[in-house]
Symmetry: C2
Subunit: 241 residues, 2 copies
Amino acid sequence: MPANTREKSTAEILNEHSVAMSVDCVVFGYDDTDGDLKVLLIKSETKEFKDQWSLLGDLVLPTESLNTAATRILKKRTGIEKVYLEQVEAFSAPDRHPAGRVVTIAYYSLIKIEDYELNVEKLDLEAQWHSLRKIKKLAFDHKDILKICIKRLRRGLQESPVGFSMLPNKFSLKQLQNLYEAVLGIELDRRNFRRKLRNNDILIELGETQKSVTHRPAELYAFDKKKYKKLLAEGKRFSIP
Amino acid sequence: MPANTREKSTAEILNEHSVAMSVDCVVFGYDDTDGDLKVLLIKSETKEFKDQWSLLGDLVLPTESLNTAATRILKKRTGIEKVYLEQVEAFSAPDRHPAGRVVTIAYYSLIKIEDYELNVEKLDLEAQWHSLRKIKKLAFDHKDILKICIKRLRRGLQESPVGFSMLPNKFSLKQLQNLYEAVLGIELDRRNFRRKLRNNDILIELGETQKSVTHRPAELYAFDKKKYKKLLAEGKRFSIP
DNA sequence: AAAACTTTGTGTCATTATGACACATTTGAA
DNA sequence: TTCAAATGTGTCATAATGACACAAAGTTTT
């Protein structure tokens, strides 16, 4: 790709074209206690955005891939190693960072809030969950990034079974529906939702029921990866609604 | 995002984390004469990939956004200014470029082959069209990039009316169907395809017909942006099939 | 001039997916 | 025992889809 020149070496040219790169992660979690989709945020460490909340990000090291950087950031900020992670988009407005040129690659990631909470004390984690609908302003262009990431999450949720990454391993269909409603921002008919799930056949009924509820307890299910692969192998696609 | 430190300035830190960035464009065109989806390629200018074909790319300048870089590359390589352009994904394997660290952002772009051909002589353009199904090997990781871009194009084609960017302003439904079949790699039923188009109501019948064909001439249509906006405003989505 | 050829253009029908909706079931609490 | 508050299931009308056959408009051939 470098233009042909007589004077400069390729290495010099690369060096002259260098810019700082960062990775910013939108970490989604679903809180069934209040039915809100939440995002992990930290207080910005950049003085220009003092006291403002920001996404979880860091500069990319010169020798690591972007996925590695994203994984590293998530490990550092949540203590969790294996997370659902998806690259979303590069944000590159030349003036997006006050200290200089920084191109950032946005990722979104899905974790179980309970997994994070387990690590908070042990690892002295500082990120906090914020309800999506309450987030007004963020540092840098992080609000834009968040917006795009939500779009992507919505799409993902409708055409692949990613939602389970935000639920406990055992969950009720009601919880699953709540999650879909929270993310998509629409109401779903319980009966139609359940029918759809039944037709897709990607869940396994655990034979257990919800405990300590003051009404009829719900059946608990788990996502069955094998069933899902089988569905894909048959050329079918998971889709909601 | 930069870590807090006592010694180094933020500018220094950014500098130490700098890497070269490039933009690589997959330029798609549809050739109705042979029914093939094609891609513009040039001979690689990097000595390690001498005589190999490569995507249209360049290093990103320190002050331009990625979209600006992509537009600049397309202008230079095709002479066309207003093109359909979509950012796809960042490719960041640390060893993907032999001369050093270069993270590349892939774009795909749709143009009319005829528009390109109009400029070839005038601007002495060197890129050439290659049938997708004949491309075996490309420089760098460009084959991987191409693969991902095709996926994205397929998705785009099914859920938004982007195909028209690769057709002449006046086209027959047969041409449109050929394009869909070429891109998606599947056969479509003519009657069902036309019904779908009719239901989406985004075309305008021009009242003209195909000329100099040895059989019944086809009606010519144009894509109607207003109709499409109206469709979206009604909350409906364009989809094929 | 008529017949043959080639491709465009349209309609029907069975099947499947969707959206709207009502009632029975299971638990704990009163 | 009854009540309250959920979970869980079935039906029906409508819309979307896939499979399919025949008529229409040109050109070429005879």
